[in-house]
Symmetry: D4
Subunit: 161 residues, 8 copies
Amino acid sequence: MKDRVVIMMGSSKDEEFTKPIRSTLKALGLSYELHVASAHKTPERILEILEQDAGSEDRIVYITVAGRSNALSGLVDANTHYPVIACPPLGDSLAIDLYSSLRMPSGVAPLVILQPESAALACAKIFALWNATVRERVLSHQKKMKDKLMLDEEKLRGTVE
Amino acid sequence: MKDRVVIMMGSSKDEEFTKPIRSTLKALGLSYELHVASAHKTPERILEILEQDAGSEDRIVYITVAGRSNALSGLVDANTHYPVIACPPLGDSLAIDLYSSLRMPSGVAPLVILQPESAALACAKIFALWNATVRERVLSHQKKMKDKLMLDEEKLRGTVE
Amino acid sequence: MKDRVVIMMGSSKDEEFTKPIRSTLKALGLSYELHVASAHKTPERILEILEQDAGSEDRIVYITVAGRSNALSGLVDANTHYPVIACPPLGDSLAIDLYSSLRMPSGVAPLVILQPESAALACAKIFALWNATVRERVLSHQKKMKDKLMLDEEKLRGTVE
Amino acid sequence: MKDRVVIMMGSSKDEEFTKPIRSTLKALGLSYELHVASAHKTPERILEILEQDAGSEDRIVYITVAGRSNALSGLVDANTHYPVIACPPLGDSLAIDLYSSLRMPSGVAPLVILQPESAALACAKIFALWNATVRERVLSHQKKMKDKLMLDEEKLRGTVE
Amino acid sequence: MKDRVVIMMGSSKDEEFTKPIRSTLKALGLSYELHVASAHKTPERILEILEQDAGSEDRIVYITVAGRSNALSGLVDANTHYPVIACPPLGDSLAIDLYSSLRMPSGVAPLVILQPESAALACAKIFALWNATVRERVLSHQKKMKDKLMLDEEKLRGTVE
Amino acid sequence: MKDRVVIMMGSSKDEEFTKPIRSTLKALGLSYELHVASAHKTPERILEILEQDAGSEDRIVYITVAGRSNALSGLVDANTHYPVIACPPLGDSLAIDLYSSLRMPSGVAPLVILQPESAALACAKIFALWNATVRERVLSHQKKMKDKLMLDEEKLRGTVE
Amino acid sequence: MKDRVVIMMGSSKDEEFTKPIRSTLKALGLSYELHVASAHKTPERILEILEQDAGSEDRIVYITVAGRSNALSGLVDANTHYPVIACPPLGDSLAIDLYSSLRMPSGVAPLVILQPESAALACAKIFALWNATVRERVLSHQKKMKDKLMLDEEKLRGTVE
Amino acid sequence: MKDRVVIMMGSSKDEEFTKPIRSTLKALGLSYELHVASAHKTPERILEILEQDAGSEDRIVYITVAGRSNALSGLVDANTHYPVIACPPLGDSLAIDLYSSLRMPSGVAPLVILQPESAALACAKIFALWNATVRERVLSHQKKMKDKLMLDEEKLRGTVE
């Protein structure tokens, strides 16, 4: 019974986009594995992966990364009882492609988040529910952000003109 | 070796929307069959239908009808050599959901059309390439439209104020 | 150490919108508590709730429900190590208000989902990672959806015209 | 009785955009001819081409390429019984100009697709209905895509971190 | 050599929309004639009308009324030296269909205006350049608007609370 | 009694944008004068120009050039019986600023066109109603466009691959 | 030297929309006067009001209410040293008309707010800077909102299911 | 009892964007202080600043600068009786992020303005209500703008071609 993150990309072109997801996962104490499979072109491979994972005793969260019309996130979500986080690589096409990640049919429930680092953080918050190491790292990550802001604020308070 | 139209809906709720597709197909001399299968929830059923059809000697055009995030049209198209016409039932959510039917990955090529009657007409124009009966009905359909417009124009020319 | 869902609304007007979240949670075997607190008007109350929850040994997922400019989801997320699911009640203002739930600053990571029933399902999939009762209900819920679709498909296959 | 693709551009400036359409058509075993004629400025030329083609015994699919307000695709479609594929060169003006290719009056039925390579593929899928050479190339093209993805997936499975 | 307004509709369904154009034209002292002809379906009829008008000695302004993808206004404009005012009947589809009236190719120059009464007024301002009767009515129409506003303002100034 | 075009810019920064308007006007045989006056900052200057022009015997068409929130076109139009052509310099902010040129109150009727060369052409078509020189140039301009297209088409017909 | 709010509407049709502005102003201890004047049609009247007010010793805040293309707010702002709050009555045309209130030229600085009650509140916060009565009412208004929310929260805490 | 502007940024990355706000404030005779505090990450710091300021006898206007989903402006506004001017640094994401600054819950009333120089000017117009120095500078700033425009207009009047 392992804690595992499974990152699924719709195309090998998305590998660059997953780098901050992966480095943040590692920084937060989580290991992951990486797949590329297209909901349009190789759906059988996706179903095969999901079936294998369903048979494991592992605790898994999927992070799905697919741009343009995102069929991947919904296909994964509808075929697993594990949670699915959709992190579509949208860039300049945000307003064009976003809805395809959100407008799911009833009973299909991927969770959407835009920034890759934050996808990893949200994923870690789930594992933190039972994994104390991850929880400590999440808390420390959040504390650092706040400390950084408070330090910035202290410096600025000197600025009265 | 039959000429067949296969209409695939993503949900049984879309049946109403397919009625003008079906009545127009029949008026243009084409028979069809109707399926409901979800690219998210029952992708295996879609692949099964496509495999059966691929093994037939029939000449088939698929018309795919799926709203919200349309994964159906791309899944069907990527797994068949037959042409696919996507006719998403968008209504008030046109500007929200349209792009999920159009922004396909490379090599996935469903053809998009908005009005259900016109989806049937476009479909018939394909069969008209070799089927003389359908061709006559398409030509007659187009002629009627033009005659109606010319008649409207003749009546109006009386209107000079 | 209890499994708990905490639903936070930005206004008591959102109570109606939370009903399908709540009934779906119960159907999936999860208990919840309900709060109303505004990130703009009563942020101290939000921080107070979060502090109490952080001190508990419970496993908590927050579901945040706030329309218009959604400050609630981000405020909750930045101040807890528990996962946060944002389910904004958008209705006709989807294209206007959606981005305020998604465009978070770095390190703030609420997960967005649009349909209230699906927010509950996504939440249950998280608890299903360790809670066998919830897992069985999630799997049964997904199976029912697929069975319903397969049954619809069987009936329709009779429709060849 | 030949199989012919007729590409119509609204302006000679669109020639660059048609290059991937043309190279993909050739790769899939289809010959084409190229026209430039404006629905606004030289509609008589368009009608003349359509009349000549209608008198031929050929099996023709039109691919219409016109940006900004696309009147070309609808004009061609309404005046021929052959299928029409609209592939508008939109680039950065996607959200501005797309609707002019889709919002057709009743009885006008061009089929819309965005990527030029995919327009050629969709076109080839139509010819594949009776032309075995084209069908083999379409199937081979689709198989290559899937093989490439499966190969990418095999390589990545090594990535477990 | 007459002063004439020629209203061209793309469909007889647009007749209702033209009523305020027509009543305002009459109120401003202008006579008009009414046509229905589709740029997609009956372009020859449009070209025939334009040719007849070009041969007349009349001073003509066209008002073109076509919804959805507006091909009519550009087709008329490119084939006449007379000015063309496009007044598309958009209603709820303003944000969807507006651009098809504005995004013309180079050298095609219909002038766009949204409100039907204002299309008639703008048209009258052109005839007012040489037609003194129309000019007087335009000036009187503008004066009445201002007087009405000044009267409203006088009444309101009593409102100090 | 002269034929005059009056170009009004809302800011001297718009001068570059007016260059193709001005060169096209001259090419079509029309002289113009150029003003800069802001509807927000120097409305009195605008009203002064309009009053002077109203007192002349000239035949005038205004071309108004103002970006962002375009108050200039409506202010000019409401205070003159001469026609007003609004040609807003929108560039990348088309979808942001366009409506401020079109959504006029009742009785305010500037005519909108996007391309600067076309604004000049539309303007010339108005003067062509009585000015034979301008009419010849408009017809010649339109003929050149069509000849260019027909020539392009002739060359391309060689392209059959 | 009085404290005065001056509400300017672009049309008498906007009077209904101003009612919650007016009732909230009165509830917060502020008197107001009401004008109707159009930036397009009666700009002289606007300039006349502004000149009179500039000559007074009063402390004035303008609230400008004009829909569609909002020229009023910028015209008022550019011609007075008093603050201007733009509260455009947008309703269903929010996404269409909003930018015309915000995209001002340099040096023109109306402040935009959407809800009429909130326009009055923001206005009162300005007067509260020196007027103790208004300040007390603003503070009391804010406290009531928070108390209402805290009361709602207390009631709901009973809801644990 | 001092006149003070308090600029609050949501991130130290926004400091560059505040430079024209700050230089314009100084040019108009106003001093300011600068804070960085996040409504999501350090809300306690914001509430602390607001409480200190509320206890002072100073006359304060807040200028809030926060991009993406702007929670800062509403949080500040709901917790102070001082006026709040929201000047979000939107750049290319204008259409994406604007609404999060405007769609406030009832009783929360930040005033929105886009250009940083204009935020400072609007702020100064508030202080000008009682501060004669600032009023003179505002009037002089407005006069310079008009003089510049009138000078541009004088030069251009030479341009008659």
